[in-house]
Symmetry: C2
């Protein structure tokens, strides 16, 4: 079967490479059909590339080619990927995407268009790179009411935090190392401020609970406020700081969804996820906790997830894969500060007595070089609004949520 | 749709419970169809059970009921489960199984019968309990050449090893605790000797490489020789002992597959899998290492995997799910002692000089209370046959394989 690839960057060129080098395994998945890359859309020139004859700069060359039934969209960004994807789906071609930004922003519209034309729109690679998560969640865990999801969804920030925790590097040094290694962009905002993780939370939440969540509904906090002092205090409590995307079921019409640094205690499967790896923990009422771990990004891992979706499209060429995922609502995502109870790590300039007067008995933490007027402690469970009320009049240095995953 | 359950033990009763309590999520997966438990086969009586009217002791009541299209086989054991499953598949009914012994012993015959009648035979619950692994491996990782699989596949032995490692309990005490907690049978042989893990290795190997592996082809070693002394030595090297099932690709006509204790170094996702949990790590040439973690047994986790397969059968009622898995061959599984190279942990009564003369420079380990004539060390990579030749004339206390997962 002929396929096309839109966007010949890291992931797109990986898709072409994986297809060409894995015809054997692919044909096992497609009942013997091969996959042939017939067109590659990119505005750039790639002189000397062995696929030179396949390149086009005109999207219509793909749209109007009746032999191309499945297209990989690995362009990234909302525009023009949205317009192209929409036209392809409406014409009955299936589209496979690694573009988390597009799925998070426009998922419901694209899924509806696919629904109407009978094409498939799949996006396993948009969350967790090569880690199988969308299919396991939507199929293998179908006999569960999902209670919550917590994920380490961004490799760049996990690399930075790992370097801070294991090697005592400062945030700035760890970021620079990530940039030098190609794990972070020159402008690292989307990663370190949590925006990338936020998009993946949107996709996971939509999938877990069947209603779309938009990025602007997800309270998002990055890791730029995390210091080595916080890392030390939390190590003394046998925990680590991770940037987590968290989703909690509240009721049929309400969930909580947020991205923030979080204290994860050792013993959790999330605590041992290091470097650029990702992991997604799903808590179901029947299964308990299951966790999916692996490379969250990278050329071939992500490409292998894109190609697996393409195989599925080839196999289901005249059939619809069902995704139960509709429009959300403005009040669908609750204010987690008001409705979720959890313990908090607090670092403040305050006396033990003042802290005990406000919080009762708490667990105090320690670090080497701790100034006598600085205290760090972990509170009982409460909402963040309650916490902030109790902390009125305190000189707070940092607050980090404590997760129960 | 009407379904039946054969075997009303822990898993079977869990299946009935999950179906009844999850109609909402189930109907999402089946495009709106409900699932109704119409018959339960068990030779025992369950007086007072709310499903009393559904029980039958006659298998033909299920076989001859044309309305029943999907059957869960949660009986365990090869007989009579094999006979029943065969008859159901031949009659065109789909069967879903949690019975690893049956799948490991009779998988190819049953898959062929399903193939011929157009029914489905699915068994997600037979490996890793509630952990999604079969579908992710066969679908999500299709664009990979799988290089190897390593799994903690037995919760009982992992519980025992965790207690030895974390609490310094002896094997005997940890086994007793497991029995008291219901994690181990009165006769623990199948668990502690690795037979249960062996069956799961057969299923994973068959799935990963498309040819069936039988239990008698898998060299299997349990954990009864592991002592607290070994645990201490390996802790000094920042590692832990786990009972691993390992599968390695050698070439198109040959794999290695074995079950044994193995040294796993901290930092591996397998090292932090504690208690009765399981984890399966899959190494693909494109994706790298991905790992699936969760409860490897238990009533509701396993039941939730069975029901997910039943949902898939309902959805695919007139369609075949494709599994690329044929008969193996007698010489398909290589002698790993001859063809696989790895480092080994060796504990022996010997001098450093004698060890250096045989092995060159090695990494010596230490433990509190180490006798002066006892040494423990980790070798360079070599085959086990090479190792055993080098150790001729040594008074060896224990040898444990070191894994590279």
């Amino acid at each position: 079967m002929k396929i096309a690839v839109m966007g010949y960057g890291t992931v797109g060129s990986g898709v072409v490479e994986v297809i060409e080098s894995h015809q054997n395994t692919i044909s096992k998945g497609t009942n013997g059909q091969t996959m042939e890359v017939a067109k590659i859309l990119d505005l750039r020139d790639f002189p000397g590339d062995p696929h030179e004859t396949l390149f086009t700069k005109d999207f219509n060359d793909i749209l109007n080619d009746d032999e191309i039934k499945v297209v990989a969209e690995t362009m990234g960004g909302v525009n023009p990927a949205f317009d192209f994807t929409m036209k392809l789906l409406k014409s009955g071609k299936s589209v496979v995407s690694s573009n988390k930004e597009l799925v998070a922003q426009k998922g419901p519209e694209l899924l509806r268009a696919a629904e109407e034309s009978g094409a498939n729109y799949l996006f396993e690679a948009s969350v967790g790179g090569g880690i199988p998560i969308i299919r396991p969640m939507s199929q293998c865990l179908i006999a569960n009411n999902i209670e919550g999801v917590a994920g380490i969804l961004n490799g760049t920030t996990n690399f930075i935090l790992t370097k801070m925790i294991e090697d005592g590097m400062t945030f700035a040094d760890a970021l620079k190392l990530a940039q030098d290694n190609g794990f972070a962009e020159k402008d690292p905002t989307a990663d370190v401020e949590g925006f990338d993780a936020c998009r993946k939370v949107c996709i996971l939440a939509s999938l877990a609970f069947g209603k779309h969540v938009y990025p602007n509904q997800v309270a998002t906090e990055g890791i730029t406020n995390i210091t080595l002092e916080d890392v030390s205090y939390i190590a003394s409590a046998k925990g680590v700081i991770k940037l987590l995307g968290q989703i909690k079921y509240i009721n049929e019409n309400k969930i909580a969804a947020f991205v923030s640094p979080a204290v994860v205690f050792n013993g959790s499967q999330l605590a041992s996820v290091n470097g650029v790896n990702n992991a997604i923990l799903v808590r179901g009422d029947a299964v308990g906790d299951v966790c999916f771990y692996g490379p969250g990004a990278g050329k071939l891992p992500t490409a292998s997830a894109v190609v697996a979706d393409m195989v599925d499209c080839v196999k289901h060429i005249n059939r619809k894969k069902f995704f139960g995922w509709g429009e959300g609502a403005e009040d669908y995502v609750a204010d987690y500060k008001e409705c979720l109870q959890m313990p908090f790590y607090v670092r403040a300039k305050a006396s033990e007595n003042k802290i005990k007067a406000a919080f009762g008995e708490v667990k105090f933490l320690s670090r080497i070089g701790q100034p006598s007027d600085e205290k760090a402690f972990i509170t009982d469970i409460m909402t963040q609004n309650e916490l902030e009320k109790k902390l009125e009049g305190f000189e707070v240095i940092n607050i980090i949520k404590v997760t129960n995953y």
